[in-house]
Every structure is written in structure tokens, then in C-alpha cells.
């Protein structure tokens, strides 16, 4: 948990995020008119390139559970920014903000991950600094 706090501080202090999708066009895959805010339970995280993927179970108003695939930074960028594989274990509850895929699948490019204690990690898409919005 100390590592997570350190990571948080590093990430919040970093304003050099730049765009991080970089292997494909954001606008071609995701729809900036479809912002999503999701809260769910982490089922797994895949540490892969060109993007790491976080999978969460989200329950909708009808009680149906949908597993969302959340595209993040590349594993290489995450590890260089201080993330470690132990930081997002399966079973913890997170909230994310991002944009849904144009093909309307439960897929989103996410920008921030907020843990249930309120702390926020920069996860991808866009810049690390909200000031540049």
C-alpha cells in the first residue's frame, strides 16, 4: 500500500504524460462523445503491450453484471511510472473515467483509476495533468 501511495504521488506530480495511446488513433477506436464512469470489481489485469488491460465486473441497474475491458497505458510505461503487478489485485473495487469504444462493446479507454479509498492513479489516454484538459 505504501508503494501505491508513492505511485500516486509520483503520478500526480507528473505533468509530462503526453498522449500515450500512440500505437493507434484514439479517435478511430473510441468515441469522445461517449464518456463513461464505471465502478466495479477488478477481475484481472493483463500486463501487456502495446496496452495493459484492466478488467472489471460492473453491475447495471437491472442487476446484470458486465465485464468491461479497460485500455490503459502500455505495460512498459506503467512499470516505468512506478506501477507494479501487485498494485491492482483482483477483488478490489475501483472507479474509472474514460471513453467507450465506437463499436459499442463494453470496452473503454480510461484515463484515471480511483480506488475505493479515494486515491487516483493516472492510467492512460491524454495527459497526466488535468490542467491541460
Amino acid at each position: 500500500m505504501l508503494r501505491l501511495i508513492t505511485t500516486l504521488l509520483v503520478l500526480l506530480c507528473s505533468a509530462t504524460g503526453g498522449n500515450v495511446l500512440a500505437h493507434h488513433s484514439f479517435a478511430a477506436e473510441f468515441d469522445n462523445t461517449k464518456p463513461v464512469e464505471l465502478t466495479g470489481t477488478v477481475t484481472s489485469m493483463k500486463w501487456s503491450n502495446p496496452h495493459a488491460w484492466i478488467y472489471i465486473d460492473v453491475e447495471d441497474e437491472s442487476g446484470n453484471v458486465v465485464n468491461w475491458a479497460l485500455e490503459s497505458l502500455s505495460a512498459n510505461v506503467l512499470v516505468r511510472r512506478g506501477w507494479r503487478k501487485t498494485d491492482l489485485p483482483a477483488g478490489i473495487v475501483v472507479s474509472v473515467v474514460g471513453w467507450q469504444a465506437r463499436n459499442a462493446t463494453p470496452t473503454a479507454s480510461i484515463r484515471f483509476v480511483t480506488l475505493n479509498d479515494g486515491r487516483t492513479l493516472f492510467a492512460g489516454t491524454g495527459t497526466a495533468s488535468p490542467a491541460t484538459e
Binding site: N19, A27, V79, G126
Partner: protein, 519 residues
């Protein structure tokens, strides 16, 4: 008889003492065996490490495993047998995934070894994969961070290069027969030159999750004297071009002609750019050449999202623009190419960007995608290793370019030092690359003159002048600083987990379907 006995005894002793016959082995300036060159096995290990008879599309061969036995645990032997049965669909290589080590070393593709004082690089024909072996004692910054090709750290034991390869994932196989391992794999490679044209290559394989004891493979690597550079075999790109998933563009791909209605190309229109001052304290090699070796990241100014200046784009910081000639910062497009560039920015074209398919970036794009690269300066070459698993080999020996009809993603690069600036001329491009995600346009006809000037110990100023009479009315130049960083290279195994391409294809297909139904 006596002479033969003495020779045999000498060979025997040298094998166990780690020294080799000095008179037959080329050596580097520091006295190490010089492994530089192009190498390939002449065996059938890629089909099956063990002795095997022929099957349809499998060539027979004697084994390279000492004792010809792989000591599987019982459950693992069953797994191996299942892998064999299902190999046509489950072999990672059938999907063009990274082969891993040691498999990449005995595939039927040549590779080149580059040897500098602190690093050894191995660049492979197969999909522009490379290995970077640290021989300077540097320990990994990211222990436990697994990858397809593993993490290679080497040292010399006498005349033998010993490389420990760790941090593997559990996704690669040893051969087409389904021999496999877990992520506990630990390799110890030994490279021992027997003579100028032969390396004795031995690997001890340990994996307590899969095997009952360590086991060893051993084979000869043969110098490929009939070739003077590695060409490209882009596995996935070739597959997708064959099956239609990656579509040809007749306007830019080789051998597209200059369109009849193009404006004339003014080759002499370039302006003189300011000369760059080089600091007195830049590091230098023993011969006085600037030492630019190491890890760099481009301060790219948003070039991967547009070479010209832009602002107000969703989620993107404003770009400073990197075009320094023409002075207005705009690319001097032919009219059709500007229209194509605008069309490519549409969501329906995102699928067409080769890097969305995980193909190599091309030149100059490889230098300003947001991923680091590593310069190596072995004798006679500058080698650039790009973290996105591609490389450039720049020859400094004054050789001629490849024949015109040999076309490559990364082009053919010939370089020279002019004072403290590395000047590189590149030709023989295939015209398949985009210059960035918004699709700045270039064709196979481009020739590129790049300059790499180390202005300080920690920064190179990079300029690339592109002359392309198919897409442009005159040459244009970009300028981007490269900053040296205290980091280490990782691996970007892009294709293996590319979940995006299907989404991009959906968007394209939906657009095309709508076009068909629109009168």
C-alpha cells in the same frame, strides 16, 4: 598420428579452459573474440530439438539435445504431446508471435551479431526482432517483469561469452514439436568461437516447474558469407497482405509512379538550417568519434500525431510542430496527398495505419513514436534498437545501396561521420508506412538524409530531410531533440496482445457498409 593427437588434446583443453585457438579467431580491439557478423544454423532444430524422422512439411534431422532426451515431469510430457498434436494452431509462431530465446537462435532465418564494449546486440531477419545483451555488469531495473524474449545479461569467461537469460513469460515454445517451458525458465547460453566462421552455441535449460533436471542443447552457428546485410521478413505483415487484411495502396507502395498531374518537384528548394554547436565535453570513442551509444527518448513535440503544428485536439497537448523547412512549418504536399492526409484522419481510416497492426514504424517515424531507442556503435556500424521491436542497421563502410527493387519497411541506410555529425542516407523504402497516427503521407520514392548531432553529452539534435516527388512539391525537414536517459530497454510485444485492431476494423467496415448503401 602424433600431430592429430596434439591437435585433439589442444582442442579438448581449450574447450574446458574457455580459450580458443588465437590464430584462427578474429578479435576485437580489446582482445575478445569478435563475434560480429551474420550467422545461421544449418540444422533442423527449429522443427524438433530431438532426433526426428520426416513428416509432411517437417524436414528430418538429428537432435541437438545432449543425450537426445528432454527430462519432462510426467504432466509436462503429456502437455508436450498435446502441443505436438495441436501444433498447427497452437504454436505461437503460427500466429507470428515472438519466438522467444533460444528458439529465435535456430530458426531458418539469419541474424547479425553486433559487438560493442558494453553491449552485444543480435538483430534478426525474422520480424526485425532484436536482443540487447548487457555485458557491462548492469543489473536489470525491473526484476520480475517478464517478456517474450527474456532479459539477457552477459559476461566473458575467458574467450566464451556467457549470457544468462531470465524473466521469460510462459508463452513461447522451443520448437515446432511443442517443446515448452514455464515462466521459471532460466537459460545459460555459451558462445564459443571455434574458428572465424563457426560459433559453438550451447544452452543449458533449467525450469523446475517443467523439467526434472537441467538439460543442454548444442549446435554450430555458421557465418553467412554470401550476404552482407540482413533483409526483412515481417511475418504478420506478409500474412495480412496475403489474406487481404492489410490492403495495398497503389499511390504510395512500390513501384507507384509519379502522378501525371503532380506539380514539378523542386529538389533545390531546401533552405540552409542553422549550424549546430557541439559541446567540448561530449563523450568520445577511442578513435575520437562521438560516443552516442545509449538509451534515448525523443522530445517529439507531438510528431506522432501530426508533423505540423496543431492545437485544440481532444486529449492532446498543443503541438509545437517539428517541420523546420519549409519555414512556414507546413508539409509541402502535392494536392492529392494533402487530401489523402485529411481523409486518413477520419475514424474509418484508423485501421489503415500500419502501426495499428503492430507493423514496424518505418523511418523517420520509428524515432518519434512515444517509445525509446538505443544506439550501439560497434565497429563499422551504428545500430538503432527501437523498443517497439524493430531496428535500423546503419553501415559506415561506404557500401552501395541495395538494388532498386529490394524494398524494405525500414529502408537501406548508409552513414558517415562528417565532423561530429552522423549523416545517414536512406533509400529502398516500400512506401507502406504512415508518418504518424493522423496519416501524414509518404511514398516508396522517398529518400531521406538524416543528421544526428550530439550537441551535449545528453542530447542529440536529429534532423531528417525527406525528398519524395510522389507526395511533395519540394524536400522538407523535421527537427527533434533526442534526450539521453538513465533507463533500460524493455520489450514491446505488440501483436501478441493487440486488442485494438478488431475495434478499428469494425469502425472501418461500418463506414464502408454505409458508403455502399448511400446512393
Amino acid at each position: 598420428m602424433l600431430v592429430r593427437s596434439i591437435v585433439l588434446i589442444t582442442v579438448f583443453l581449450s574447450y574446458f579452459t574457455g580459450t580458443v585457438a588465437a590464430q584462427t579467431v578474429p578479435r576485437t580491439a580489446s582482445g575478445k573474440p569478435d563475434l560480429q557478423g551474420i550467422w545461421q544454423v544449418q540444422n533442423r532444430a527449429s522443427y524438433d530439438l530431438q532426433s526426428h524422422t520426416a513428416r509432411y512439411d517437417v524436414l528430418p534431422g538429428m537432435g541437438v539435445v545432449l543425450d537426445d532426451e528432454i527430462p519432462y515431469q510426467p504432466w509436462a510430457r503429456e502437455q508436450k504431446n498435446a502441443n505436438f498434436v495441436n501444433r498447427k494452431t497452437t504454436d505461437p509462431l503460427s500466429k507470428c508471435f515472438l519466438p522467444g530465446v533460444p528458439r529465435i537462435m535456430y530458426m531458418e532465418h539469419p541474424f547479425q551479431i553486433f559487438q560493442a564494449e558494453e553491449h552485444v546486440a543480435i538483430t534478426f531477419e525474422w520480424t526485425q526482432v532484436f536482443r540487447l545483451i548487457y555485458t557491462n555488469g548492469q543489473q536489470t531495473m525491473y526484476p520480475g517483469f517478464n517478456s517474450w524474449m527474456g532479459n539477457s545479461r552477459g559476461h566473458w569467461e575467458g574467450d566464451v561469452l556467457v549470457v544468462e537469460v531470465t524473466e521469460h513469460n510462459d508463452q513461447t515454445w522451443f520448437d515446432e514439436a511443442g517443446n515448452f517451458h514455464s515462466d521459471a525458465l532460466h537459460l545459460t547460453e555459451r558462445y564459443r568461437m571455434l574458428d572465424g566462421d563457426t560459433i559453438d552455441y550451447e544452452v543449458t535449460i533449467e525450469d523446475e516447474n517443467v523439467f526434472t533436471r537441467p538439460w543442454t542443447i548444442r549446435m554450430a552457428l555458421h557465418r553467412q558469407t554470401h550476404m552482407d546485410r540482413i533483409l526483412e521478413y515481417q511475418c504478420q505483415a506478409e500474412l495480412e497482405e496475403m489474406n487481404g487484411d492489410f490492403e495495398r495502396d497503389d499511390r504510395t507502395w512500390y513501384p507507384a509512379a509519379i502522378p501525371d498531374d503532380n506539380e514539378p518537384f523542386d529538389a533545390d528548394a531546401s533552405i540552409d538550417l542553422p549550424e549546430l554547436a557541439v559541446a567540448d565535453d561530449i563523450p568520445r570513442l577511442p578513435d575520437g568519434t562521438p560516443d552516442i551509444s545509449g538509451y534515448y527518448m525523443a522530445d517529439a513535440g507531438g510528431a506522432n500525431y501530426g508533423l505540423e503544428t496543431y492545437s485544440g485536439r481532444f486529449l492532446l497537448p498543443d503541438s509545437r510542430g517539428v517541420v523546420v523547412d519549409p519555414p512556414d512549418g507546413l508539409l509541402p504536399y502535392q494536392k492529392w496527398a494533402r487530401a489523402e492526409r485529411i481523409d486518413r484522419e477520419g475514424p474509418h481510416r484508423g485501421y489503415d495505419d500500419p502501426t495499428a497492426h503492430c507493423f514496424v514504424g518505418g523511418v523517420p517515424r520509428s524515432h518519434y513514436v512515444p517509445a525509446p531507442f538505443f544506439f550501439l556503435q560497434p565497429p563499422g556500424h551504428v545500430v538503432v534498437l527501437h523498443e517497439r521491436m524493430s531496428y535500423r542497421q546503419i553501415f559506415l563502410d561506404g557500401r552501395a545501396h541495395l538494388p532498386d527493387h529490394i524494398r524494405l519497411w525500414q529502408g537501406d541506410s548508409i552513414g558517415r561521420w562528417e565532423g561530429d555529425t552522423l549523416v545517414v542516407e536512406s533509400t529502398n523504402f516500400n512506401g507502406k508506412s504512415w508518418l504518424n497516427e493522423v496519416g501524414d503521407v509518404v511514398s516508396h520514392a522517398q529518400t531521406i538524409v538524416e543528421t544526428f548531432t550530439p550537441v551535449t553529452a545528453s542530447q542529440i539534435i536529429y534532423r531528417a530531410t525527406v525528398s519524395d516527388p510522389i507526395t511533395s512539391t519540394r524536400p522538407w525537414t523535421i527537427e527533434i531533440p533526442f534526450n539521453r536517459e538513465d533507463q533500460e530497454m524493455l520489450e514491446t510485444a505488440c501483436l501478441e496482445d493487440n486488442n485494438d485492431l478488431g475495434h478499428l476494423r469494425d469502425v472501418r467496415d461500418e463506414y464502408r457498409a454505409a458508403q455502399k448503401t448511400t446512393p
